[in-house]
């Protein structure tokens, strides 16, 4: 299999496997656990290599999963002592693990080139050259097999345990009362996340795993609040980012993993701006519309109140809104434009006159 197919395919598989789990981390407010785990597997990986006298994949894998388990347990235990809060517990454990890993690398592999870049950014560029062979047969890039298996595991995990995951995520108390153990589900999720992180680590490195886990799911969450929609959306975003990143990296001759993550960031940025309900643009527009509605209602009520008194001529002057009521120019503009558009007022020689519809609107507001 050539690199042009193997690399983007690996990227899509890694991103999909990560994004699937990311949904639950986002909803459980545990996004930073992904950060902790992806860094903490380093010493395990290295220790596995040391014990196996060389870069043995299985030993590295087992060591890494063990290190992840230690990290999850340690964070949980630290939090439970109630001497530090959850964020600090994570911040104490994972740098220690990562520092240990770095020391192990420098002391044990001074001659073997376990590159700093490979730890932080992975080496997805070369996946096509690392092939899986059984006997004489060349089965294609190993990473494709590994990541396909991880995707399958994650799909099965999320598919089979949807009910448990949903219940413990949204109402841990109810889950416990119904006999589902939130603790068990927590550890199961962490285990699957660890295995995924170990698999993805070699492709995209420690920090970028975090992005692929969290960011596509967060992007999906900006667009929908329904889990059934959020999960496929997140996978789609992850896969799209992998492909976009791959093309961009080839075009600009830069890091593929870095470009994939930048692409997840770009998609998130687009959603942050343009999401239909939570997006910044939609929000700003909604706020402006509400302001216009309220301002025109205020104007209608003001005109209505003074319609039949002797002060009518004075109070309905346009300039009076600024001078008498001390409305800002912006608000005055919003009010008059809004009320005119709704057909509530007419302009008559510098004065505002309430129409029949305007009167009705004012009466409704006052009656409320």
């Amino acid at each position: 299999m050539s690199s042009e197919i193997a690399v983007p395919l690996t990227g899509v598989l890694v991103a999909s496997a990560c994004a699937l789990l990311g949904n639950f981390l986002i909803l459980r407010r545990m996004a930073m656990m992904a950060d902790a785990i992806s860094h903490a597997i380093l010493p395990g990986l290295v220790a596995g290599y040391v014990l196996a006298h060389g870069p043995n994949l299985l030993a590295g894998f087992l060591g890494a999963v063990l290190a992840a388990a230690i990290t999850v347990t340690a964070v949980q235990a630290l939090e439970r002592t109630r001497r530090v809060d959850g964020g600090a517990a994570i911040g104490i454990v994972f740098p220690a693990m990562f520092a240990l890993g770095t020391v192990l690398v420098t002391s044990q592999f001074a001659d073997v080139h376990l590159d700093a870049d490979a730890i932080l950014f992975g080496n997805i560029e070369f996946v096509a050259f690392d092939t899986l062979t059984i006997g004489e047969r060349d089965l294609g890039p190993r990473s494709i097999w590994v990541m396909s298996a991880l995707c399958l595991i994650n799909v099965l995990f999320v598919g089979l345990f949807t009910k448990e995951l949903k219940l413990t995520t949204f109402d841990a108390g109810l889950a416990a009362a119904l006999g589902f153990s939130p603790v068990l589900v927590h550890y199961a999720l962490m285990l699957v996340l660890s295995v995924t992180a170990v698999g993805a680590f070699s492709a995209v490195g420690a920090v970028l795993v975090v992005a692929l886990v969290i960011v596509p799911a967060a992007t999906a969450y900006l667009l929908t609040e329904r889990l059934a929609l959020m999960i496929p959306l997140s996978v789609a975003f992850g896969a799209a980012a992998a492909l976009i990143g791959y093309r961009a990296a080839i075009a600009w001759d830069t890091s593929i993993a870095g470009a994939m993550v930048s692409a997840t960031g770009a998609l998130f940025g687009l959603a942050l701006l343009g999401a239909p309900r939570q997006g910044l643009i939609a929000r700003a527009w909604r706020t402006r519309r509400q302001r216009a509605t309220i301002a025109s209602q205020m104007l209608a009520v003001h005109l209505f109140n003074h319609e039949s008194g002797p002060e009518r001529d004075e109070e309905s002057r346009v300039a009076h809104l600024r001078e008498g009521l001390r409305w800002s120019p912006q608000r005055t503009g919003l009010a008059i434009a809004g009320a005119t558009r709704r057909g509530w007022v007419d302009r008559d020689n510098g004065r505002l006159v309430l129409t029949a519809r305007g009167r009705q609107a004012a009466e409704q507001v006052v009656a409320r």
Binding site: G91, L120, G258
Partner: protein, 312 residues
């Protein structure tokens, strides 16, 4: 031992490394105290990662590799990251830890992309940006230490000037706001000072381990006292101790990189404090429980409350 002391005083390299690490420990210890008490321990982690694209952009734009230029870029990028973080937390349904993870990982991804782009250009001048990833305390020179001292001194002076405001902001932001303090502006100032600590740390311990420098000293100090001023002093002391002893350890033993050694020393201090600090130490807790289980009457509700220990 006396030989080591002599080296510490007179060996040029070791003196710079030890001084630089100690300064980092003090500054991040003081600022970390506020971050920890405001439950924003991981903010430093996010800011450190967010700084990477700033370093690369500063280099791409100016072509200069002078630490002060690169660190300025780092500071600006960290600051932009903070603003984005606030935006996400305030305007969307995403929680704070999701926002942290998003800013941290995407900024870092952009940084990696830029860094690789710079390296691929084969510019003879490019080497050396990588050192900000893992830090390179051993390469600190006197000029770096002076830069640290000025930056850190300015940050500490500001903490001193705003100590009342920061204390209020940390313990009762609602009250601070009702008194008419601009809490948003104050927390932006505090975060900007954390960016200064991060900038110092990037060169010493690197992007990944910076989180430990902000959280560790404060978390250890928290176990020893319930009062803010002693906590800040202890935190600075722990930070400096970890810095100096980490530097000494890696100087005396071959193959021990400085940054990770500092962090491991710090971790030892944290766990020592968690276990053995008077009053809050977990060992005493366990001993008290056993004592109570073996002898004495049933614990009264009051005793139960006390045995819960104080909150984080």
């Amino acid at each position: 031992m006396s030989g080591l002391l002599r080296d510490l005083l007179f060996d040029y390299t070791l003196r710079n490394v030890a001084l630089g690490s100690a300064l980092l420990g003090i500054v991040s210890g003081v600022l970390g105290t506020f971050a920890l008490l405001r439950r924003q321990g991981l903010l430093g982690d996010a800011l450190a990662h967010a700084a990477l694209p700033g370093i690369c952009l500063a280099f791409l734009l100016t072509g200069s590799k002078a630490p002060i230029v690169l660190l300025l870029g780092a500071g600006i990028a960290g600051w932009v990251g903070t603003m984005l973080l606030l935006l996400i937390v305030r305007r969307t349904l995403l929680s704070e830890d999701a926002a942290l993870g998003i800013v941290l990982s995407t900024f870092f991804g952009v940084g990696v992309t830029l860094l690789t782009f710079i390296n691929q250009r084969g510019d003879a001048n490019q080497a050396g940006l990588d050192k900000y990833l893992f830090g390179q305390a051993a390469a600190l020179v006197a000029r770096d230490v002076i830069t640290f001292a000025i930056l850190g001194g300015a940050a500490l002076l500001l903490v001193l000037l705003f100590s009342k405001e920061f204390t209020l902001l940390t313990f009762d932001p609602a009250f601070a706001s009702s008194l008419g303090f601009g809490t948003t502006r104050l927390s932006i100032l505090l975060t900007s000072l954390i960016v200064v600590a991060v900038v110092i740390g990037l060169q010493t311990v690197g992007v990944v381990l910076m989180a430990a420098m902000l959280i560790g000293p404060a978390a250890a100090a928290r176990q020893w006292t319930n009062r803010l001023a002693p906590m800040i002093a202890l935190s600075a002391l722990f930070g400096a101790t970890a810095g100096v002893s980490g530097a000494l350890l890696s100087f005396t033993r071959q193959g021990l990189p400085t940054g990770p050694t500092i962090v491991l020393t710090l971790t030892a201090i944290v766990f020592g404090s968690l276990l053995f600090a008077p009053a809050r130490g977990l060992v005493w807790d366990r001993l008290r429980q056993r004592h109570r289980a073996l002898s004495g009457p049933m614990p009264t509700p009051v005793a139960l409350v006390e045995s819960e220990g104080s909150r984080p």
